[in-house]
């Protein structure tokens, strides 16, 4: 090794003589993992453990054990077997953009980051699917498919970074899931490494796969049923024509009524997104997308399809808007204007960050006809707790995303944020809604599960989980509230937290 190289290595700490070789440690678990993978892809340093102790949610307190970066299904199998042998829990992780804390490791589990498994394995046009590894980024996949005229339909706002594995685990949605359906409607088959280390193919490419719908059950299971190592996603043909309408209103209620009206008229647009005045202003300040700053609410509605019929739908939406007192209806003139409007919508969370350093994004669903009422309550809750709450939401399917904007350094603010959050959830449930539309339960909403489900209901969910994972090895402490076997983390090992916590 050259002197120069050696010097560089010393600084970087990769020189073995300085750092101590990683390929023989004093920890048998680490040794086993290193043997199974490769020293460079098993990490246990404090920096890594601290980094992988978090995801994009507002929750701290994760405690990662060894971190593995497998590159193949067989390595994942090996990790699972070692976890079994050492009686450790395992937490799958994609890009770490989850907002409910699903990827936060509890009790020093082995963290399995699939970010190195990121190949598009095969595009099978004859069967209408693409086989991908779980670490493939959502938007990368869509770009990869573009030359063939297809895309992957679920388009979460995080699509530039979130992984297909994460989408599957969270059953993620996005603006265009109104017409096309959320992730579950786009997954044909999943290769899963079960918590016992078996490789199973759930679902299949055939029309009606045999047996219980384990594929359907796996989607949305938040990493608690095993690790997805290969996914067959459906190819959706790109639409030749799109019409994007921007409707402005002088009240949020009018916008919400328009949304209900459109659905009631038998139109299922590709997307229907609403932003209230506060968020519209923030977006305009941020990207200058051409949204009206003075509107109390704007509705972004999009219809797509073959050329012919979408004019009818677009006109109908315009009429329904006007019947509901729309103050302005604008049709995006070209692709550039359309792209700009969407850019505004999709960077809404970023725009918020310009206002205050922290935000807490909620995610409940209410019946569309209750949207206006629940929003009124949310504004009242904001006033009560003296918080700024902005609303941007997938109106078409009633999926609210109240954003509580705050500065985490203000004394006592977190208590107010959480109290307001709790009231938002209660208001949504009281209106006949559910806890989460797309972010999942994770560690965020476990405590609220009792509000939606009875003990017997939760017990049955727990049974479903146990059928896959009788020893609660996969991502324990998530989804189900305390009192259910896999909620009480059995595979906890206290690893000295040290400085890094």
């Amino acid at each position: 090794m050259s002197l120069l190289r050696r010097a560089v290595d010393r600084v970087r700490g990769t020189d073995d003589s300085v750092r101590g070789a990683q390929d023989h440690t004093t920890d048998p678990l680490l040794d086993a993992l290193i043997d199974a993978l490769d020293p460079a892809r098993v990490k246990f340093d404090d920096a890594q453990r601290s980094l992988l102790g978090k995801d994009a949610s507002v929750f701290d307190g994760g405690n990662a054990g060894p971190i593995c970066y497998p590159t193949s299904t067989s390595e994942v199998v090996a990790i699972m077997k070692i976890a079994t042998q050492f009686d450790r829990a395992v937490v799958p992780r994609g890009a770490g953009t989850g907002l409910a804390g699903g990827a936060i490791p509890l009790g020093a589990p082995i963290v399995v980051a699939v970010t190195k498994m990121r190949d598009v394995i095969e595009i099978d046009e004859a069967n209408g699917v693409a086989w991908v590894e779980p670490g493939v980024i959502n938007l990368d996949l869509t770009r990869h498919l573009a030359p063939l005229g297809y895309h992957f339909a679920p388009d979460p706002s995080s699509q530039q970074v979130c992984t297909i594995g994460g989408n599957v685990a969270n059953n993620s949605g996005g603006p265009h899931c109104l017409a096309y359906g959320v992730t579950n409607a786009h997954i044909q088959a999943i290769e899963v490494v079960t918590p016992a280390g078996d490789v199973v193919m759930l679902g299949g490419l055939d029309a009606e796969p045999d047996g219980y719908d384990l594929r359907g059950v796996f989607v949305g299971s938040e990493g608690t049923l095993g690790i997805a190592t290969k996914v067959a996603v459906k190819l959706t043909k790109n639409r030749p024509a799109v019409r994007t309408l921007l409707l402005s209103f002088s009240s949020v209620r009018d916008a919400a009524n328009t949304v209900s009206g459109v659905i009631a008229a038998g139109i299922v647009p590709a997307a229907m997104e609403v932003m209230d005045n506060a968020i519209t202003q923030a977006v305009e300040n941020y990207v200058n997308a051409g949204y009206p700053r003075d509107a109390a609410a704007v509705l972004l509605a999009e219809v797509d399809g073959p050329n012919e019929g979408i004019e009818i739908d677009a006109n109908r939406i315009r009429e329904i808007g006007l019947e509901n007192n729309a103050t302005d209806v604008r049709l995006a003139a070209d692709e550039a204007e359309r792209a700009l409007l969407w850019k505004g919508r999709k960077t809404a969370f970023g725009a918020v960050a310009q206002i205050a350093p922290n935000y807490y994004l909620h995610d409940t669903v209410v019946p569309r006809s209750k949207l206006a009422d629940v929003l009124d309550q949310i504004y009242a809750i904001a006033a009560k707790y003296e918080l700024l709450i902005m609303n941007v939401f997938h109106a078409g399917d009633g999926n609210l995303h109240p954003l509580i904007v705050f500065d985490g350094r203000d004394e006592g603010i977190l208590d107010r944020v959480h109290a307001a959050g709790a009231e938002i959830i209660e208001a949504s449930l009281a209106a006949g809604g559910v806890l989460s539309g797309e972010h999942g339960i994770g560690v965020e909403k476990q405590a609220y599960m009792h509000l939606l489900f009875s003990d017997a209901d939760l017990d049955h969910q727990n049974r479903l989980r146990r059928a896959f994972d009788p020893t609660c090895r996969a991502n324990p402490g998530k989804v189900l509230p305390a009192g259910h076997s896999c909620a009480d983390i059995q595979h906890l090992r206290s690893v000295p937290a040290g400085l890094w916590g």
């Binding site: 994009a56 530039q160 960077t347």
Partner: protein
């Protein structure tokens, strides 16, 4: 350890992760410690929570290319570049990074004569195959070059250090193109020996400040200063922030990338037959992510070539990053491979790149690039 980072800046990151795919080191490793979000988290741990500077923490900081691809991707406008520069400055001051031998490397940059001698020596050494291949230097480092003569006094033409030594032909082209547009330029030569960008990257901010003061002292009028190296332009546009004075602000506002400046003067250029070339535009990070004027390159090039194509990778860094390719050869190589693949995918005849570092780095992988000015110059002179 106090990294001297501004608390508001540090807190502006909400850990959303949207920057991850735009980071070249994360792209090739998939490792959170090699991502902007990871690096910011570690800065916080070190500054706010007293985490020790372990080898892994230093590695995370030192593997950053400082391409700032994460900045435009960040919805919260986290000033990542400044955070990392500051971190490196603190660590270099503390002796934790940038050891003496590396500092020695940067010293000649400020003294053009030494650099030219060194570079000529390197050119000879390279021809004799004494230089390791992984340094990725081009095969034909110039041995001796004709000096640049002023063509007028409308603008300054920044000649700099590395660029002047290695790519004086680019300067020549740039000045000819300006002249064709009726703009007379004065080369800065020893008035402005070095912008200090590489020093800033290495955490040697004091040296950068000295260089900045020197340049500002020598270029006192209010003429625009044109720069044909994206990295230098970015550094000079940042003097306002670096020195924090109104003079420096005013100076920075006079700095333009040459394409940026010419984009407003394309009409003044003669109309000629376009070159029969399919040209891929490789945006240097400091043009695209830092100066954010990369679209100007297209405006300027478009009339002079048959076809412009975009490389389909969101402007991901090529891995050159100042001295990065020398200090982190392995990662730089992986990042470059990715870029080379993206370039091959669009099958260009020529790749246009407006930064010497990128050109040298890509040349190391056999991808020859031309500066946009060389292409326009060629079209004008055919």
């Amino acid at each position: 350890m106090d990294l001297h980072l501004d608390e508001d800046d540090l807190n502006s990151c909400v850990q959303c992760g949207l920057c991850l795919p735009h980071c070249p080191t994360f792209r090739v490793t998939g490792d959170e410690a090699m991502s902007p979000r990871g690096r910011i988290h570690l800065m916080r741990e070190v500054q706010d929570n007293g985490a020790p500077l372990t080898p892994e923490v230093l590695e995370s900081f030192e593997t950053c290319v400082q391409c700032r691809g994460c900045e435009p991707a960040c919805p919260s406008s986290v000033p990542y570049g400044h955070l990392m520069e500051r971190t490196r400055e603190t660590l270099a001051d503390a002796g934790a990074i940038t050891p003496l031998w590396q500092r020695a490397m940067f010293a000649p940059l400020a003294t053009p004569v030494a650099l030219k001698a060194g570079s000529a020596a390197l050119g000879v050494a390279k021809r004799l195959k004494l230089v390791p291949k992984r340094l990725g230097l081009p095969d034909d480092l110039p041995l001796r070059q004709e000096p640049l003569e002023p063509t007028g006094t409308d603008v300054y033409f920044f000649t700099g250090c590395v660029m002047d030594a290695w790519q004086r032909d680019v300067h020549r082209s740039g000045m000819r193109v300006l002249k064709a547009a009726g703009i007379g330029a004065t080369p800065t030569n020893e008035l402005a020996p070095c912008c200090g960008a590489l020093h800033a990257h290495a955490g040697l901010a004091d040296q950068t400040r000295d260089l900045a003061e020197q340049m500002m002292g020598n270029l006192r009028d209010d003429k625009p200063i044109l720069v044909d190296s994206a990295g230098c332009g970015a550094a000079m546009k940042d003097y306002g922030h670096l020195l924090g004075t109104t003079e420096a602000e005013a100076f920075s506002s006079r700095v333009f990338d040459i394409q940026e400046f010419l984009a407003d003067h394309v009409g003044a250029l003669p109309q000629v037959d376009p070159l029969d070339l399919r040209v891929a535009v490789q945006d240097p990070c400091h043009l695209r992510h830092v100066q954010r004027v990369h679209l100007a390159t297209r405006t300027v090039l478009a009339p002079f070539v048959r076809e412009l194509v975009e490389i389909n990778d969101d402007g991901l860094c090529c891995g050159a990053g100042g001295a990065y390719s020398v200090l982190q050869p392995e990662l730089a190589g992986q990042i470059r491979d990715r870029k080379v693949n993206s370039i091959s995918a669009v099958q260009p005849d020529v790749v246009a790149s407006a930064n010497p570092g990128c050109s040298l780095h890509l040349a190391g992988a056999g991808v020859q690039t031309l500066h946009p000015m060389q292409i326009v110059d060629e079209a004008l002179s055919q």
